[in-house]
């Protein structure tokens, strides 16, 4: 059990920046998710914490002690790999036992601890098998059991669910969540899947191109994205983003006119709102031709063409419309987000 502090952590390969001056404090027992598209530096960050990659700059502190120069084995961290990294020549039992063996934990404790870990992840029937004779989900559970068999200070998980099929992913996700609740070990979890991030995390760190874009609870990230990158990355569909201009408290863009931005300064902005915040109506702030219509089951997703951008609007499931026909929707200013046209940073205005 320990907290983790990253101070100005950077990784460069020549002129390529993998991670740029990252500052982060991860509280003891927290479940932190690093989220971002591939190549954003999330895995590099995790590997630096694990000690598998050397940091170019900055400090990593685990439980207050600087670990930069330490070997992975001396950091007391357990890690679950995307490809599981199971030892193919050993049985499941030996795989789970391996950390105890190499760390010279007294022989007498081995069996009990292996069995406890195997029971936790429901693997007791497969202990004699080799990893090759297991399904993907079972291999994943072996990797989890191997991580929890000793009590490390920190768990690292590198996209542990990405090789599983959709159904198994949901159940394993729940299992990981439950495991964290039970063990209360500080956990860092890397994923590019925002649903995993939303469901698992105490806090989410959204990264892009090696830079932290936003740190916050899943709800904060969803409700108050810090910039256009986060807005365009989080949510399914992602937040609608429209270019336009504020003049005298009124936003105007192609096919869109929204009054009510009383405190906002005049100038070019990006306007953002979520599909579910807009409502189809006879007349409204948006009036644009329908680009496509998709039935989701509980609702329909109508996409309209507003200028050069496509805007998604959630409509009732019995909504009837044809591609090319005009559609009007209401979106009050209080549910809209404004972002700076140049930097993409969130703009504060009085209504929020």
């Amino acid at each position: 059990m320990a907290d983790i502090q990253l101070k100005g952590l950077s990784k460069r390969w020549g002129s390529f920046i993998g991670v740029k001056a990252m500052d982060l404090h991860i509280a003891d027992g927290e479940f932190l998710v690093l989220l971002g598209p591939s190549g954003c530096g999330k895995t590099t960050t995790m590997r630096m914490i694990a000690g598998l990659e050397d940091a170019t700059d900055g400090d990593i502190l685990i439980g207050g002690a600087r670990v930069n120069g330490l070997e992975p084995k001396d950091r007391d961290i357990a890690m679950v790999f995307q490809s599981y990294g199971l030892y193919p020549t050993m049985s499941v039992y030996e795989n789970i036992r391996f950390p105890l063996k190499v760390r010279k934990i007294p022989q007498a404790e081995h069996h009990e601890r292996v069995m406890r870990a195997a029971t936790t992840v429901e693997l007791t029937e497969f202990l004699d098998r080799k990893p090759a004779a297991l399904s993907g989900g079972q291999r994943q559970r072996v990797a989890l059991a191997r991580a929890i068999v000793r009590k490390p200070k920190v768990f690292l998980m590198d996209e542990p669910l990405s090789n599983l099929d959709a159904k198994l992913r949901v159940s394993t996700r729940a299992q990981i969540k439950n495991l964290h609740h039970e063990l209360k070990t500080t956990t860092i979890y890397v994923t590019h899947d925002q649903i995993e991030a939303m469901t698992l995390a105490d806090r989410v760190v959204v990264m892009s191109k090696g830079v932290v874009q936003q740190v916050g609870t899943p709800l904060e990230i969803y409700d108050r994205p810090a910039n256009t990158f986060v807005a365009g990355f989080i949510g399914n569909p992602a937040m609608n983003l429209l270019r336009g201009e504020i003049r005298g408290g009124v936003f105007e863009g192609r096919n869109v006119r929204i009054p009510g931005f009383s405190g906002a300064a005049d100038g070019q902005v990006h306007l953002g709102f979520r599909a579910e915040d807009a409502a189809v109506a006879q007349a409204g702030e948006i009036a644009a031709p329908i680009y496509s219509l998709e039935l989701l089951g509980d609702a329909s997703m109508a996409t309209v063409q507003a200028g050069e951008s496509l805007v998604a609007i959630k409509a009732p499931k019995d909504f009837q419309g044809r591609i090319g026909e005009p559609l009007a929707a209401q979106i009050p200013a209080s549910l809209c987000h404004l972002f700076d046209a140049q930097s993409g940073e969130r703009l504060r205005w009085s209504a929020l």
């Binding site: 084995k73 890690m79 599981y84 990294g85 030892y87 193919p88 391996f98 190499v102």
Partner: protein, 294 residues
């Protein structure tokens, strides 16, 4: 599966395939079987000028020894000419070469396969160039310094030279085997509490076993079959089997020596058969790509 693929093939195809295989087997095995048979005859039969069938029936063998088979070739080579000494020397050379090459090869190959730097590639490429050179070009250069430093003629000298010639190849082969093992395996071992070397020993080597066996077999064959190095660098009493056989052939004035060569050829070949049969499974899985994947 109720029917095997082979059963579903048409009759004609099966007959053609089987007869081709039988034919192939005869062609491939003939030289060895012929020599094996002939090694129990006298020279006059095996190298008969009158009738080649004499090698099979052996009238002179019956006339000279009273039986249709004689082990005089083997007795002459092993006891009279002390071929057993050459066999012991070969054993020493081969065991040392294989052990040393594999030790350096696994350690070096692992390091090169995990190295993120470009020089690893160039090192391997240069080593391949040295491997491509005929051994004799290196040996001629060694001769003079070895004479001057009084190193010539001893077994360790030949072992070192053979290891040097062999090492590029073992390094190359083992590196490509190690590259097939995912890095995640080392990394999860290191997270589990291993040092780099422990990860190598406890996790990587067990997975690498087929690769190590295959590479070991190739180094074995190089040392076992070598003529250029051992013939040039070893004194008469330290000779290994292959140059010893050559020296039997070199003295054809005396009758019987050719038969010594023939019988020792059989003695040299037989262990190879046993070896390949024994390690068959490992060799096949080592030669099949992806066999060492985790």
């Amino acid at each position: 599966m109720t029917t095997r693929v082979a059963d579903r093939r048409p009759m004609i195809l099966r007959v053609v395939m089987s007869s081709f295989l039988v034919l192939w087997l005869i062609v491939a095995a003939f030289p060895f079987l012929w020599t094996l048979w002939g090694s129990f005859k006298v020279e006059g039969d095996f190298f008969s000028k009158a009738d080649w069938l004499n090698a099979l029936t052996g009238p002179l063998t019956i006339a000279e020894t009273g039986g249709s088979f004689t082990s005089s070739g083997y007795y002459g080579a092993w006891v009279q000419e002390e071929f057993w000494r050459a066999a012991m020397n070969s054993l020493t050379v081969v065991v040392c070469v294989v052990c040393i090459s594999l030790t350096f090869g696994t350690l070096g190959g692992y390091a090169l396969s995990r190295s993120p730097y470009r020089y690893a590639f160039w090192l391997l490429l240069i080593s391949l160039v040295f491997r491509a050179m005929p051994p004799i070009t290196l040996v001629s250069g060694y001769l003079l310094p070895f004479f001057e430093w009084n190193l010539w003629g001893h077994l360790p000298t030949a072992i070192i030279v053979l290891v040097a010639i062999n090492q590029p190849f073992t390094l190359w082969m083992l590196t490509s085997f190690f590259r097939n093992i995912p890095k995640d395996l080392d990394e999860s071992a290191m997270m589990d509490g291993c040092s780099r070397f422990q990860a190598f020993r406890h996790v990587i080597i067990p997975v690498m076993w087929p690769g190590v066996i295959t590479t070991g077999l190739f180094s074995f064959l190089l040392a076992y079959n070598d003529f250029a190095v051992t013939a040039m660098l070893l004194s008469k009493e330290n000779q290994t089997m292959i140059p010893k056989i050559a020296s039997f052939l070199g003295t054809t004035q005396t009758k019987g020596n050719v038969m010594f060569a023939v019988s020792s050829v059989i003695s040299v070949t037989a262990p190879l058969f046993l070896l390949v049969m024994f390690f068959q499974r490992q060799i096949v899985s080592g030669l099949t790509a992806g066999a060492v994947k985790g």
